[in-house]
């Protein structure tokens, strides 16, 4: 604490301007720093060092390859210690179904208040563990681009944790339906989400059966996940896709009696299954193409058809460009990305490369407002700078008050990717409160005997990276700070920190 304060007073007493005059040469150029703040969740010392060793081209290659997700040992241990790290989804689903059945043994009895409370608490705990695991990886994984894409796809293929069995499903969904495909082929990602119970429950496809059609998933699969709303498909296409999807459901309780050709066919190891008895085997016409009634093969054909549409290439490219480049990405950029997407068979990493290597990307640096997730994660990365005495649990609440907690968006459109979704007056003032909490050390992981201490944000990382690029207004604010916490608050609240 002594050193923190003395450094802090040295800074304020000499004044930021005077201080800047004696400052060592910046560790990284301004454009490179901004570039790094886009490719990653936010620069910390390790990424800057790595950047200096590799340069833009090789740094980007490494991030696109995304094969280094090792975490600092204490962080990995924390994840390994979570109960979600040791659960088997099929067993979880069975247990869940069994418990519900026991509770409703006589078909009428509702859960007791006590049972209900316990059940809700257990579910909430699983969701919270999952969010914490994702946040810890976002802060500490070297695969920073992949971590952003995991968030991006969880958002594009949104599921909502407070619906039915979802609390028991979201952890596996993130781990096995999204994460392995985040940088791979888009088609694989669509099929992985389509055959995961979390999606089938969330968009009601578990209820979609022959003569009892439920269009919910079919519509959102086209509108929000693959083609976009103006892609030219019709209500009839929605109905036909819903028919194709009939019988794709979840086998909550495996039957011991096999039913011959009516037996449910497991779809991978997720508990999702194809129920021939619930499927509409008639022929369908989707987007002008006939799909012959043939069981689950129809679904694969339909997904192939959807992801092959030029509208899909454009829609997915535009979404990525909105997330990484600008709220209104230039048409030429989206065209170029869509071209790569089509040429590469929907390869996500290749499409990203086209985007990151474009002129439009360079021209946009420093102009993209951080959404709350980027703000919180970058502030934690900057504040802890690789040190592991940080706990993300309190960050779950911060994201909640900003309205962007993972698995917390009720409707399937996901969270907005644009500034207007996050920069209203009410959100800005809340964001500054979060800046103060981080600046006060509220994310410190401490035992009962230790006090949380403000991180030393005025330290050398600041001096060597951000200080040379701060505006006069922001420097003036830092000079007026009366305590380390206040100084930290202003830094994390500054425009320089809130744009990437």
């Amino acid at each position: 604490m002594q050193t923190k304060l003395s450094f802090f007073f040295a800074l304020t007493i000499t004044g930021a301007n005077a201080f800047a005059a004696d400052a060592p040469a910046p560790m990284i150029g301004k454009d490179d720093l901004l570039w790094l703040n886009r490719i990653t969740y936010g620069a910390d010392e390790a990424t800057i060092q790595q950047f200096r060793a590799l340069g833009r081209k090789k740094f980007l290659d490494v991030q696109l390859r995304a094969n280094d997700d090792h975490l600092p040992a204490p962080i990995q241990q924390r994840i390994d210690g979570m109960s979600i790290a040791h659960t088997d989804l099929q067993k979880t689903i069975e247990d869940f179904a069994k418990r519900r059945k026991e509770i409703k043994a006589d078909g009428k009895t509702e859960m007791s208040a006590e049972q209900k409370k316990e059940y809700v608490r257990e579910g909430a705990d699983l969701v919270r563990q999952t969010i914490n695991r994702e946040l810890l990886r976002a802060v500490y994984s070297p695969d920073q681009l992949k971590e952003q894409m995991v968030w991006f796809w969880l958002n594009q293929f949104n599921v909502f944790a407070r619906k039915g069995a979802e609390p028991w499903l979201v952890s596996d969904y993130a781990e096995h339906a999204i994460r392995p495909y985040a940088m791979g082929k888009f088609r694989d990602l669509v099929l992985a989400t389509l055959t995961h119970p979390a999606m089938l429950v969330y968009l009601d496809n578990v209820r979609n059966a022959k003569d009892h059609a439920n269009e919910n998933y079919a519509r959102e699969l086209m509108e929000l996940q693959t083609l976009g709303v103006d892609a030219g498909y019709t209500q009839k296409d929605v109905q036909e896709l819903a028919r194709i999807l009939t019988g794709v459901s979840v086998e909550f309780v495996p039957r011991n009696v096999r039913l011959g050709r009516f037996s449910p066919e497991p779809l991978g190891k997720t508990g999702a299954a194809f129920f021939p008895a619930r499927h509409d085997f008639g022929n369908k016409t989707l987007l002008g193409q006939t799909i012959r009634g043939d069981g689950f093969k129809e679904v694969e054909q339909a997904v192939d058809l959807l992801v092959k549409q030029p509208q899909c290439a454009r829609f997915v490219s535009r979404r990525m460009a909105e997330y990484f480049v600008a709220d209104q990405p230039p048409k030429e950029l989206v065209d170029a990305m869509a071209h790569t997407f089509e040429r590469s068979g929907g390869d996500i990493a290749e499409t990203l490369r086209t985007m990151f290597e474009s002129k439009a990307f360079d021209a946009s640096l420093g102009n993209k407002f951080k959404d709350p997730m980027h703000f919180v994660v970058s502030a934690l990365r900057y504040s802890y700078n690789g040190a592991t005495q940080m706990d993300t649990d309190v960050a779950v609440n911060w994201l909640g008050t900003q309205g962007e907690v993972p698995f917390g968006h009720q409707s399937p459109d996901g969270y907005p990717l644009t500034e207007s979704g996050w920069a209203s007056s009410g959100q800005m003032s809340r964001r500054f409160e979060i800046a103060r909490a981080i600046g006060a050390g509220r994310a410190d992981k401490v035992d009962v005997n230790t006090k949380q201490a403000p991180p030393e944000l005025a330290g050398s990382l600041f001096v060597k990276t951000m200080l040379p690029y701060m505006s006069q207004n922001s420097l003036a604010a830092l000079e007026k700070a009366k305590s380390p916490v206040e100084w930290n608050t202003y830094l994390l609240s500054s425009p320089e920190f809130n744009y990437r």
């Binding site: 209820r207 009892h212 439920n214 929000l224 309205g403 209203s424 007056s425 003032s429 207004n473 003036a476």
Partner: protein, 396 residues
């Protein structure tokens, strides 16, 4: 109620203003408007029940609400010979209806037939005729512009809704956790100054100022009431705070309420939809009561992006449909009526043999309401809702 009555009523009923009220009161002569947006497409046919239609009971074997029946507490509350109210709304909206403070507009909605939540919600919030995407602003933002300061706007939401976007700096404030104090004056000034000359300057300074003021106002009140922190859960829990802010400071409000997308197990007299309606009804009743005399100068419109399929689906729920029922409430509205164009509820009159048709465009209805509230001329109406003529349903 016409505009003249609005003025008279207001003059007669100046509320006793507290400290904050004196500082922030809107001009006393100006009426106020709250837009309640039910996101998710609520199932209007189980809120306003067409109980004289046998087709209704045929179409909903599992979720229909029973006809009015004095011996059945789960029976609907008859409003006239054809329409009845969901029983769960009897104590709240039923009483307001009896006091002629609620009107319903059935067969209401937009031209948008996408049946997409997001497209239709955006379409409604933009307030544009089909195929027109020229504006990058919401209709409430444009209304605020037309009223030129006569109605200070606010959204009671975490984020600024599309309805209010494009209108410069319009405040938003979620009513969850408003009791905590934030930054002191010196810190507020420092934070605001950092954003001088940036595009976020208005949002930053007004946001900080509003948080401080509201924390001060409700903080003092909470101490008085000795209730601890505001922990408002849901619309019903927040509606008294919302009413106080609308009474004392704001005249143009937006709030949204979610959870209406009942594809599965919607329920009938009881269940998922009934619970949501109960929360909404109670919230609106609290809002009316908290406004006190000012309820007479207030109009609330409740609407949703679309109605749902008239027939129940295979999961005892309903899917995305088209025509809806919109609500108009207020202390002086021409209520106790079911208004607008109507048709008999039967299979032949359904749109595409599945949904209520839209006979009453919400833009025309709202334009009519706004015209009477604020005396807007046709040119002003067109600024709010391009290519729209106001339809005067004599609601205010």
């Amino acid at each position: 109620m016409n505009r003249r009555h609005f003025l008279i009523n207001t003059a007669a009923a100046l509320p006793a203003l507290g400290f904050a009220g004196q500082l922030f009161a809107a001009p006393a002569s100006s009426p106020r408007f709250l837009f309640v947006f039910l996101r998710g497409g609520y199932d209007c046919a189980n809120m306003l029940i067409p109980y004289s239609s046998d087709f209704y009971y045929e179409s909903r074997p599992k979720i229909a609400i029973a006809k009015p029946d004095p011996n059945n507490a789960n029976g609907a509350l008859a409003l006239d010979a054809n329409w009845a109210l969901a029983p769960v709304l009897r104590p709240s909206i039923g009483s307001l209806y009896a006091a002629k403070q609620v009107a319903f507009v059935p067969f209401a909605g937009t031209e948008d037939l996408s049946r997409s939540h997001f497209e239709t919600q955006d379409n409604i919030e933009l307030g544009l005729p089909p195929q027109q995407h020229a504006f990058n602003s919401g209709f409430l933002a444009r209304l605020s512009g037309v009223l030129q300061g006569k109605a200070k706007p606010i959204a009671f939401t975490d984020a600024l809704p599309l309805s209010f976007q494009g209108g410069g700096d319009i405040a938003n404030l979620s009513l969850r956790n408003v009791g905590k104090s934030s930054f002191d004056d010196r810190q507020t000034a420092i934070l605001s100054d950092m954003y001088k000359g940036t595009r976020l300057q208005p949002a930053v300074s007004s946001g900080l100022q509003l948080r401080a003021e509201v924390a001060q106002e409700f903080g003092a009140e909470m101490q008085k009431a000795n209730r601890g922190a505001i922990n408002a859960r849901g619309f019903a829990g927040q509606s008294d705070k919302l009413a106080e802010l609308m009474r004392d400071r704001y005249r143009l409000g937006f709030v949204d309420v979610g959870g209406w997308d009942t594809h599965v197990n919607e329920g009938g007299a009881e269940g998922q939809l009934a619970n949501n309606l109960n929360e909404l009804g109670q919230g609106l009743q609290t809002f009316a009561q908290t406004l006190g005399d000012e309820w007479r100068n207030t109009v609330v419109v409740v609407l949703s992006e679309f109605g749902r399929t008239f027939r129940e689906n295979g999961n005892q729920g309903t899917d995305h449909g088209h025509g809806s029922v919109h609500w108009v409430l207020g202390g002086s509205v021409g209520g106790g009526r079911i208004v607008g164009e109507q048709v008999a509820v039967k299979q032949d009159t359904l749109l595409q043999n599945r949904d209520y048709p839209v006979l009453n465009n919400y833009r025309a209805t709202l334009a009519g309401v706004f015209s009477r509230m604020w005396g807007l001329n046709q040119q002003q109406v067109t600024q709010v809702f391009p290519a729209t003529s106001a339809k005067d349903l004599r609601l205010v």
